[in-house]
């Protein structure tokens, strides 16, 4: 029995708290790593992760196994991250300032960043992408999900996701070429 099946069985047997604790223990690290690649600070990532779990708890009774539990949880987390990124982008537009340099410096000075120079360049390039491209690139490149799985998480057609990934990939290559 997979962990997802164990969680669903426990929940259906009335052990809601146990099922939810299993979700937190099983998905915390994976979701944290996913969200962390999308947002520039640990604090923002922490907020998004907590909101994700609160929503998982809130909407778990409505989960109908039409998609896998993994996809369903990832969809919630990705939507939370996307909402955050859109809000940040809007704030940047209102303040009329380019935040790209600020985001890059935040990554450089992040005490929780333990990567090498190549990783630093890559994540600075990713931070310059629009929110949706950033999410599609992250899900495909880091999580190595199939386009069908990405479509279940983000919505949209497979064709548009392929195009989005291709654009993001090319942009990152161009940015790496410049440096």
């Amino acid at each position: 029995m997979s962990i997802d099946q164990e969680i669903i069985t426990a929940y259906n047997d009335g052990m809601e708290d146990y099922a939810f604790n299993l979700i937190i223990r099983h998905y915390s690290t994976r979701l944290y790593n996913h969200i962390r690649k999308l947002v520039p600070s640990h604090e923002d990532c922490d907020d998004i992760l907590q909101n994700t779990f609160i929503k998982v708890w809130k909407y778990l009774p409505e989960f109908r196994s039409e998609s896998s539990l993994f996809t369903w949880i990832y969809r919630i987390a990705t939507n939370e991250a996307l909402t955050f990124l859109k809000r940040e982008r809007l704030r940047n537009i209102i303040s009329l300032g380019s935040k790209e340099a600020e985001v890059a410096s935040r990554i450089e000075s992040d005490p929780y960043f333990n990567g090498n120079q190549a990783q630093l360049k890559l994540h600075k390039a990713i931070a310059s992408l629009p929110p949706k491209q950033r999410i599609v690139f992250s899900l495909k490149y880091f999580e190595e999900l199939k386009y069908e799985e990405i479509a279940e998480i983000t919505g949209g057609s497979i064709g548009s996701l392929k195009a989005s990934y291709h654009i993001a990939y090319t942009k990152i290559l161009n940015l790496l070429e410049k440096e």
Partner: protein, 145 residues
């Protein structure tokens, strides 16, 4: 050049997560999530506070509708029915001859239509006499008539 960059992106090390969370972050996360859920459930808004936005919206709509009605009333835009009724009253007076509806009607009232008709007939008869070659007997008959 592009090939070398593609090689960089194909490097599996790049796919590793370069961030590490603070120590014991995940240990504390479970407890914090439960606490946050408990707080959210406790702060679930009451029925009145949930209905408050709808009530406020309804109240605002009422105020706006009231202001609209008053302004229409003040600018006589809502006086049409009574205005029509008043007009109907005036029409009734005109029809009953208590009021003059226009200058023309007033003018014709001053003319004696009976005299106007007889004058016109006289003119026609005279013309006829002049135009037609009536015999003396016929003329005498006509005068007697």
């Amino acid at each position: 050049m592009e090939k070398s960059n593609k090689d960089i992106l194909d490097n599996p090390d790049l796919k590793k997560n370069p961030w590490s969370p603070p120590q014991e972050y995940f240990m504390a996360l479970e407890e914090r999530v439960h606490l946050a859920i408990k707080e959210e459930e406790e702060s679930t808004p009451s029925l009145i506070s949930r209905l408050k936005p709808s009530l406020m919206l309804f109240l605002m709509f009422g105020i706006i509708a009231g202001i609209g009605y008053l302004s229409l009333k003040l600018t006589d835009a809502l006086q049409k029915p009574s205005a029509i009724a008043e007009k109907d009253g005036i029409m009734a007076l005109i029809e009953n001859g208590y009021l003059k509806s226009s200058f023309i009607e007033e003018y014709y009232d001053e003319i004696d239509l009976g005299n106007l008709y007889s004058d016109a007939m006289q003119e026609i008869t005279f013309e006829r006499i002049m135009d037609e070659n009536l015999s003396e007997d016929e003329l005498m008959d006509y005068i007697d008539y």
